[in-house]
C-alpha cells in the first residue's frame, strides 16, 4: 500500500522565523561523500560515509512586507543560520520528524519577477550539521 503523503501543511522556519505561509516547496537533501573502502579480497566495491554535504532548497513567494520573506532572507545572504522543516505542525515524533540544518550557508538570493505572476524567491542553504528530532518538545 502506498504510504506517500501529500504535504500541504509543513512548517518551515528560517533563522527561527516561521515562513510557512510564504513557502511553496521545501527540498531537504541529506548527502554524504561516498568513500571507497574496497580492499584486496573484495569482490565488489564497498563504501563508507565521508563528510556530510547537506542542503535545503526552499521556494517562497517574494513578499517585501515587514517580517516576511525579503526581510528574513536579505539579511542572511553571505551568512549561516539554522533551517527547520517539519511535515506537519505539532510535536515532533517518529511520524513527524523535525529536520534541522544548523550552520547552513546562504550564498545567493535570486528574486524572480515576471509579468502577470507573483514574484518568487528560491534559495538553497548549503552545508551545516543535519539532525532529525523525533522527541516531543
Amino acid at each position: 500500500m502506498a504510504t506517500s503523503t501529500y504535504l500541504s501543511t509543513p512548517v518551515v522556519t528560517v533563522n527561527s522565523i516561521d515562513l510557512t505561509d510564504q513557502c511553496t516547496g521545501a527540498t531537504v537533501n541529506i548527502n554524504y561523500d561516498q568513500l571507497s573502502a574496497t580492499s584486496f579480497g573484495d569482490a565488489s566495491y564497498k563504501y563508507v560515509a565521508g563528510l556530510g554535504s547537506h542542503s535545503i532548497q526552499l521556494d517562497f513567494y517574494a513578499s517585501f512586507a515587514a517580517s516576511e520573506t525579503w526581510a528574513t532572507l536579505s539579511t542572511l545572504v553571505g551568512t549561516s543560520t539554522t533551517i527547520t522543516v517539519q511535515p506537519v505542525a505539532g510535536s515532533e515524533s517518529a511520524t513527524n520528524p523535525k529536520m534541522t540544518l544548523t550552520g547552513s550557508f546562504l550564498a545567493a538570493l535570486p528574486v524572480v519577477n515576471a509579468l502577470g505572476a507573483l514574484g518568487t524567491i528560491s534559495v538553497t542553504f548549503n552545508g551545516g550539521v543535519y539532525t532529525t528530532d523525533v522527541t516531543p518538545a
Binding site: 533563522n15 527561527s16 522565523i17 516561521d18 515562513l19 515587514a66 517580517s67 516576511e68 526581510a71 528574513t72 536579505s74 539579511t75 542572511l76 551568512t79 549561516s80 543560520t81 539554522t82 544548523t102 550552520g103 551545516g128
Partner: protein, 59 residues
C-alpha cells in the same frame, strides 16, 4: 544586553528572546524581528557618602 521579540513571526511580541545555537542574531536585528535593549538594573545605586568640604585656609 537582552533581546525582545518584535515580530509575530518569531513569537509573542515583547517577550524576551533567547537565541538558540546557530541562530543569526545580527540578521534578526537587521530584519527588525528583535530589538536589543540594555538591561535595566533594579537595584538602587548606592549614593556616595557626603563629605564636607573643608574651607580653604585663609593665609
Amino acid at each position: 544586553m537582552s533581546f525582545f521579540i518584535a515580530s509575530e513571526k518569531l513569537g509573542k511580541i515583547g517577550e524576551l528572546y533567547t537565541p538558540k545555537a546557530g541562530i543569526n542574531v545580527g540578521a534578526l536585528l537587521a530584519g527588525g524581528f528583535i530589538t536589543e535593549r540594555a538591561e535595566v538594573s533594579t537595584t538602587e545605586e548606592e549614593k556616595p557618602a557626603k563629605t564636607k568640604s573643608k574651607k580653604a585656609h585663609k593665609e
